[in-house]
Each structure stands twice: as structure tokens, then as C-alpha cells.
């Protein structure tokens, strides 16, 4: 467990073990060193009970598409595995085959197909199988959409109208024009939440009177590592908790100047016996711009660090899967990996 509050003078083992040190033009003490045999008299071997005690998870914000939480007491190797899996290895459904019967729009076939590919699809991927290369499409591995639109003049448009959206009917083709065509028992299986694009207002192509698109779209289950269209997140990222340590006190007008080195809300200037004094109130809001380290007057008065095992994790979902489900699925993917590798190694060694 990380020692709580540190005082300034620390250049000791505790700091080097638990903090990344941010200097004016470099960072030091970046790698984790909490391994057995590294520090005399300290065990540091994996201990599940100890981990359970020290691990903390706190959710800060949650919405339909975004979530932020703190994960404390875990190594970067594992936190990064979660992040990488969120981006590349949690399956979703995405357009993979586009059959163009007719496309007389200005957008050429291959560009149109690519645009359709990037439209996020609202469907539960756990209810579908992966479709193998040689496998034929079935209701268990494929979602079918029809996209049909023909543009014509709007008879009710005012004379001299110049806005194409008013002058013509179907001047824009939107993702919302993709109509789900249920296969097999899909209509029954998904009657609770009918399959559709996550957003209805993505412009796919534009038409003028007489032009039309007639397209059949097949969606398959896939992974972000094969193509970004299957990634369930816009991004998933983390940053380490910043920490600002003040040596002694910063008082008077210097306190105000000190405050201005940080984003609003990080440092407060309080009055103590009529004297202004700088107090760090919310280091989380700090961007660690290191502005304060450029000022000669604060040299040896301030130290910036980051807590090495305190991750501020952010998940920005594309909208098909809610962020809280995404995280659980990501951790399960890592857990499944360990099982797969273990069983495979066992059978490999048995065969030898």
C-alpha cells in the first residue's frame, strides 16, 4: 500500500518506490520496482490477501457513454492490459460486407462502403457468434440492413428555394435510413432492443433528383485489433494521480503567483493570521504542466510527483456497449486469456 501523505524532503526509498518524480525537463523513477529480492527485508512477492486489502476502486462519473474511475494498488502492466483490451479486444458488431445493387450518388462505391463500415451498430455482441472465413452467414453470426433511398424534387418547396434539404426529398442519406432486416428468429430474440445504428444522424452520402442508392449491408462480430470499426471505444485511457509537495510555506504575494502556476481549483490561497498562504487542495485537477518549475522563486520550494499505482481511468464508449459493461468484459477477456494459455501449455507439455 502506498504511504499516505508525504513531506517534502523525501528522496527516500518510499518515494522512489511509490512515486514517479516530475522534474523541470525530465521524469525519473518511472519503473515499478516492487518485486521480490529488490529491497532487503521486504517480501513483495504476490500475496492475494494483501492485494485484496490494498486494492481500491472508486467510480467518479458515469453516463451512457463515458465513465471515470480511480483504480489504486495495481501495477501499470495490468492497468495497461485493461486499457489495451478495451481498445482492441472487446468484440462488437460492425458492417463487414456491403452489397451495392445501385449507387448513382456522388460518393463512389468503395468510399461509400468504407463510410458505412464506420457506423456504430447498437446490438449485443454476446448474442452473436464470430463468423469464420469459410462460414456462410446465418442469423447467429450476421445482421442484415437494407439501405434504399431515391432523391426527387420536393413539390411543396417554395419557389427559389436554395437549401437542398428543403428543395429535394432525400437529399441526404443518413445512418438512420439503414433499415434492419431481421433474419431467422432475430425479430423475436431482439424484440426488447431492436438492432439499429447507434446514431441516426450520420450523413452517409448526398443525392440529387434521379440519383439513388440500393444497398444490402451485412454486419459481423469482430475485434478492434482487426479493424478500428470494431473497437467499442472512442478511446480508453488513464493518467497517474498528480501530487504537489510544498517545502515549508509559500506566503504573501508569492502564494498568489504560486496559485497561478496551476489550473483553477488546484491551489487555494488562505489567510492565516492575516498572511496569505498557498495550500494544495485538489491535485487531481492538475495537468502537470510543470509551469511552477520554471519560476526561480519556487526552486527547492515545490516538488511534483505522480502516484505510481493510482490510475485515473477513463472509458469513452462509442455507444453500442455501456462503459461499465465494457470494463467488466475487458477484465474477463484478460482472465480468459490466462485460462486459454494455461490449458494449452498443459496439453503441449503433456504431448512432449
Amino acid at each position: 500500500m502506498v504511504p499516505e501523505k508525504k513531506n517534502f524532503s523525501h528522496n527516500d526509498l518510499d518515494t522512489l518506490r511509490s512515486r514517479v518524480i516530475v522534474e523541470r525537463d525530465r521524469v525519473t523513477s518511472t519503473a515499478s520496482t516492487d518485486f521480490p529480492h529488490n529491497y532487503p527485508g521486504q517480501d513483495l512477492a504476490w500475496d492475494f490477501e494483501k492485494f485484496k486489502e490494498s486494492f481500491k476502486l472508486k467510480i467518479n462519473k458515469l453516463s451512457k457513454t463515458e465513465m471515470e474511475f480511480d483504480m489504486i494498488g495495481i501495477d501499470a502492466a495490468v492497468a495497461n492490459a485493461f486499457r489495451r483490451i478495451l481498445i482492441a479486444e472487446v468484440p462488437t458488431m460492425a458492417v463487414s460486407n456491403v452489397f451495392i445493387m445501385n449507387n448513382t450518388s456522388i460518393v463512389v462505391d468503395e468510399v461509400l462502403a468504407h463510410r458505412l463500415g464506420l457506423v456504430p451498430i447498437l446490438a449485443d455482441p454476446t448474442k452473436f457468434d464470430f463468423k469464420g472465413k469459410e462460414e456462410t452467414p446465418t442469423d447467429l453470426n450476421t445482421i442484415v440492413f437494407k439501405l434504399q433511398a431515391t432523391c426527387r424534387r420536393n413539390p411543396n418547396a417554395a419557389e427559389g428555394e436554395t437549401d437542398p434539404l428543403k428543395k429535394y426529398i432525400h437529399a441526404n442519406v443518413y445512418s438512420g435510413d439503414m433499415k434492419w432486416s431481421p433474419q431467422g428468429d432475430q425479430a423475436e430474440r431482439f424484440k426488447e432492443c431492436p438492432i439499429k445504428p447507434v446514431f441516426d444522424d450520420i450523413v452517409v452520402t448526398k443525392l440529387r433528383p434521379g440519383q439513388e442508392v440500393d444497398i444490402e449491408i451485412h454486419c459481423e462480430k469482430g475485434l478492434g485489433q482487426d479493424h478500428a470499426k470494431w473497437s467499442p471505444v472512442a478511446t480508453a485511457s488513464y493518467r497517474l494521480m498528480p501530487e504537489i509537495l510544498i517545502n515549508g510555506e509559500i506566503t504573501g504575494e508569492a502564494a498568489v503567483r504560486f496559485q497561478k502556476c496551476f489550473p483553477a481549483g488546484v491551489v487555494d490561497v488562505v489567510k492565516e493570521n492575516g498572511v496569505k498562504k498557498a495550500v494544495v487542495v485538489n491535485p487531481r485537477k492538475d495537468t502537470v504542466s510543470r509551469e511552477v518549475l520554471r519560476h526561480a522563486e519556487f526552486e527547492n520550494k515545490v516538488k511534483l510527483t505522480r502516484v505510481r499505482d493510482h490510475f485515473i481511468f477513463k472509458i469513452e464508449s462509442v455507444g453500442a456497449i455501456e462503459p461499465q459493461d465494457l470494463f467488466v468484459q475487458a477484465v474477463k477477456v484478460l482472465m480468459d486469456k490466462t485460462g486459454t494459455v494455461k490449458r494449452s501449455l498443459q496439453s503441449t507439455l503433456q504431448a512432449e
Partner: protein
Amino acid sequence: MSTSVSRMDEDQIEVDTGKVSVVPGTMIEPQCATFCLQDEDHTLGNALRWALMKNSEVDFASYSIPHPSEARTNVRIQTSDNTTAADAMYKGLDDLADLCDHVIQAFQAELAKGEFEYEEEENAF
């Protein structure tokens, strides 16, 4: 430690035998080996390396991706005489699974508590 798969496990789960192999010539004695993981990258490689290094019987553990256009990861393990490279691998994988299990439980407990800001309306769109 037994390395056999129970009959039930075999029936339930299809074992991908090509997933893990021992790199030829690297297992001179049971205490050292380089395992090759097919279709794995830094995601499992680095996490597993960390779990292996957390074992006090492991003298050396590291991973590498020999070539960027080949989807395979090598994991090198050297252990003390008290265990073997394979057993260290099993322990590392099990420890990682325990950790994941606890993270899920902690996450779901925190979610159930509901002590966080929930934004119903999405301002992004």
C-alpha cells in the same frame, strides 16, 4: 504440481494446442524455458511478465515480440531449484486470473453502491 487436464475440463473446453509451444532448445533443464504464445502481444506479455516477476522463486522473467509482423510473443522464465519454469508459468497465470476476478468483484460492488455522479442527459451530442 500436476500438469494434467481433468477429463471434465477437456470435454467442456476445446484446448487450442497450437497456442503455446516451447521454443526448441530453450528448455535445457526444467528450471528454464522460453514459451512462445501464438496471437498474443504486449497485453498479455507484459501483464504476465509482471505476475512472473512477483514470484520469489523466479530468478528471471521477461517477454519479447521477436518480429512486429508475426503475431507471437516469447516469454522467458528462469527459476530457482524449488520449482520449474512451467509451474512458475501456471502460478503466474493463476495469480493474474485471481487479480482479474477481484477487480471485477470490486468494480461491481462499487457500481452497486451507486456513490457516484450519474449523468442521465448526454451533453456530447
